[in-house]
Amino acid sequence: MAVEPPYLYPDYVGTRLRAPAKPLVRLPAGSHDFPAPMFPRDVGPAEFDLTRQHAGEPLGERIIVSGRVLDSDGRPIRNTVVELWQANAAGRYLDQEDQHPAPLDPNFSGAGRCITDEDGRYRFVTIKPGAYPWKNHHNAWRPAHIHFSLFGQHFRSRLVTQMYFPGDPLMARDPILQSVPDQRGRERLISRWDPETTVPEWALGYQWDIVLRGREATPFEEEHG
């Protein structure tokens, strides 16, 4: 089963001139068996809460996003940095490259960091990001999503990905999510609304576990395509 998206996925127009045309070069075994980068900055204890970075609270639906970071044997990955960034509730990023004519929110920057605990657990408080249009094809809209970046324990563990929300009708037409070839693979990118994570009278809760690659090679994986 192919787990990862291919580099070239023509429906996602941005891949056409950026996907390598030549096969990836396989190196002697162990060539990339070394530890993951040590993230060189301190992560503050308040960086997990994207709703408390300004004088007021951001507009939108307050949510908690939490889950565990695991290796493929199900062991927790402790003390690893999780970085997150997202659009605001109106579907607009603070990033100056974003020209979507939706309002910025002076109380929302849209970036956070945290460090996993002894159970490999991370937890963010944020607002639900809005969908937004992009120019990939006619009437293209990105489903609501949150970007994640993780290091894990090994160089091979590095992962940048996106988390989606259950039930979003835009997912079926999103070439970025659909680039993941297997239905079960796509489902791994969709969070689960969770009543236990939801805090009464305060915030909806979503659970999303993340499984990182370890040092073992996965020979069944496609190298190119």
Partner: protein
């Protein structure tokens, strides 16, 4: 039991709000002994600059760096030339890991920067695993006191990227 890994997705064009940080290009402080300034450009299959890429440098036991490309696709880092010995004790040519993220890359790419004028390059097992015609894409070019290293994502002189 083996849990299936979480698939990769593109870093997209708007990572600027979350990933870059001040001073990220300094893997080692500028001016430290043995430090090199590396400059380069990320280029697409039509030869156009890629203005929305993010590069990471990782030199185990030295340091980590992160730099986004500018409107001309240009990036720079301050790196140190590491020792010739791998963590497992085997001899190898000094190199720097370079990881590339960009809008349009559904998975990141991993390559290496090797140093010019380095005698150990000739016997290095990794460089020798690459076909000779493509090897120069991995070796930085000396340009005065600066090392120049371009990343060509696709097409002629496409950079060698590794399966990891």
């Amino acid at each position: 039991m083996s849990l299936p890994v979480t698939p990769s997705q593109t870093v997209g064009p708007f990572f600027g709000v979350g990933l870059p940080y001040a001073g990220g290009e300094e893997v080692v402080p500028a001016g430290s002994p043995g430090a090199f300034r590396v400059e380069g450009q990320v280029i697409d299959g039509h030869g156009a600059p890629v203005p929305d890429a993010l590069l990471e440098i990782w030199e185990p036991s030295v340091g980590f760096g992160r730099c986004r490309t500018d409107a001309e696709g240009a990036f720079h880092f301050i790196v140190a030339k590491p020792a010739r010995t791998a963590p497992n004790g085997s001899a190898q040519a000094p190199y720097v890991n370079v990881t590339v993220f960009a809008r349009g890359l559904l998975r990141h790419l991993v390559t290496r920067l090797y140093f010019p004028d380095e005698p150990a390059n000739a016997d290095d097992a990794v460089l020798n695993a690459v076909e000779p015609a493509r090897r120069p894409t991995l070796i930085a070019r000396r340009d005065g006191s600066v090392l120049h290293f371009d990343v060509r994502l696709q097409g002629e002189k496409e950079t060698v990227f590794f399966a990891i």
